[in-house]
């Protein structure tokens, strides 16, 4: 049976390492620098207020009913996005977004697009199992 001191030592080491890791991560933000406009910040609010993540993904994270939208801005362009948002599809309802909300949402997509590529084909696999883009 391990003593309380031994168990506490292991727990303290683990938790202290975690807190150090967490603080280091918080302090080393931003991870990537790129311009963020007010429209983009408002667009993010729209994305959350309409719960778009229930169906759509960003970097493969989110819902599965609709497509991943990380790079929809560079692949399809703003007009294509606007057409979908303002009309809906046979799967997606028309949420009746105002013009302002639509523009902000498109600015948000532009911002996500500039942050990186989500296509898994763009990754290179190393022999040790790690990946690199």
């Amino acid at each position: 049976m391990a003593s309380d001191l031994q168990k506490t030592t292991v727990a303290v080491i683990l938790i202290a390492s975690f807190l150090a890791y967490t603080c280091f991560l918080y302090m080393s933000l931003p991870i990537k620098s790129y311009a963020t406009s007010n429209a983009c910040i408002e667009g993010k609010k729209t994305w959350q207020n309409y719960n778009c993540a229930a169906c759509h993904q960003v970097y493969g994270l989110g819902g599965y009913l609709g497509p991943d939208l990380t790079n929809v801005y560079s692949k399809r362009g703003p007009q294509y996005i606007q057409a979908f948002i303002s009309n809906g599809t046979n799967v997606m309802p028309n949420f009746h977004l105002s013009n302002n909300e639509q523009e902000n949402l498109i600015a948000y997509f532009k911002n996500i697009d500039s942050s990186g590529k989500s296509d898994p084909k763009t990754f290179f696999v190393h022999n040790n199992g790690t990946i690199e883009q």
């Binding site: 049976m1 391990a2 309380d4 168990k7 292991v10 727990a11 683990l14 938790i15 975690f18 890791y21 967490t22 991560l25 918080y26 080393s28 933000l29 931003p30 991870i31 990537k32 620098s33 910040i41 993010k44 609010k45 959350q48 207020n49 309409y50 719960n51 993540a53 229930a54 169906c55 960003v58 970097y59 493969g60 994270l61 819902g63 599965y64 009913l65 609709g66 497509p67 991943d68 046979n90 799967v91 997606m92 309802p93 911002n111 996500i112 942050s115 990186g116 590529k117 989500s118 296509d119 898994p120 084909k121 990754f123 696999v125 190393h126 199992g129 790690t130 990946i131 690199e132 883009q133």
Partner: protein, 451 residues
Amino acid sequence: MEPLNNKQLSTPKLYLLTGLILLAVGLLFGISGAIQYLVPDYLKEHFSFEKIRPLHVTSILFWIILGSTGGVVSYLQQYNNQKIKYPFLLKIQYLIFSITILTILIAYIFGFFGGREYWEFPPILALPIAIGWILFIINFISSVNSFRNQPVYIWMWMTGLVFFLFTFIESYLWIFPYFKNNIINDMTIQWKSAGSMVGAWNMLIYGSSIFLMEKISSNKKHGHSIVAFALYFTGLFNLLFNWGHHIYTLPTYQYIKHISYAVSMTEIILFSRIIWLWKDSVTTAKKHFHYAAYRFLLAADLWIFLTLLLAILMSIPAINIYTHGTHITVAHAMGSTIGINSFLLLAICFDILHDTCIPIAVNIKWLNRGYWITNISLFIFWISLIIAGILKAKWQMSASPEPFSVMMLQLRPFFGLFFIAGTIMSIGFYLILYPLIKNQIVCYINQSKIK
């Protein structure tokens, strides 16, 4: 003194009962959501998927949270052989949680969101949840008489309680511009908290399961053994550092991914132990299979094996680029929440609630049917998601992929299977839940009449 596991509808039992009702409701929303994969314009205008999904997820999430709370409090009372220190705090916590959960579900029905995946409700509603949880921590710490020479489940409960609060607060850092104004920062912290939070509630549930296992086997030594603590520390190590496997494809720091990959591989230790103890498990199963609670522990054992195998594979970045963003991830989530969390919580519920008013033994035939229906259909459900995931992975990796809608049409047969298996699984669950819920409600009505 009255025995604690008696026929009264005590507050901890009320947590379990509310959790069970949420599970029943969550299953209905789940079926409704699955229909929308097959008939996309079904309820599209008034009750579309962006409402159904959070209704389903939140109901199940709070089944896990309330079930864990009920389990921890009941077993802590049994362990101490005395009531929890502040029963009124437990009641206040219950009241806060019930009102908040109801408000959240109503908000979703009317389309009020503003939060993020898993916590889609307006952020202000996170405040009562955090306050309720702090009350729980105060009650727990005050009720554990001494932290000297305690069994592993006390450590696990304490860890789960503290880290749930930590990760819950962390999951709301996005409200500050420093975190939210950069998508990569935001998603990194979001999945740091979400990944660790799952580990936190697993600590609560696994802790209660170890207590239950000791109770069934009458072996009090396991909770103090070196092996139990070694496994606990392996779990804690993973809770703290393996969250990065959710974001291998996010352009975040490479070191996050390398740490997560290395730490996740320590789960092989847990996996190997399950294989090593397989023969013993089968022998023990034969001995205790007549206990309803044990049966669910056994089913969870099988699901831990399957889910852990999938999790280890998905934690290898070279494999993860294929599985990420596909239904294989959903299969993993369903295996964990249904096969592990829900089965373990049902085992705990059967142990704590089995003798309330009408003995469960009266309904044993229906319970048996429910048990087998749920397990077999869950396996078919899980396999259909994995096949759908493999096909989506193939599509994602294709040099010239067809449009998304065409790919979704090709997956439709597997969504059909997923819907049928999910519906049958829900029927199985209802056969299990009906006697449990009915017993508690009958008991409540009887209590009211006496008063």
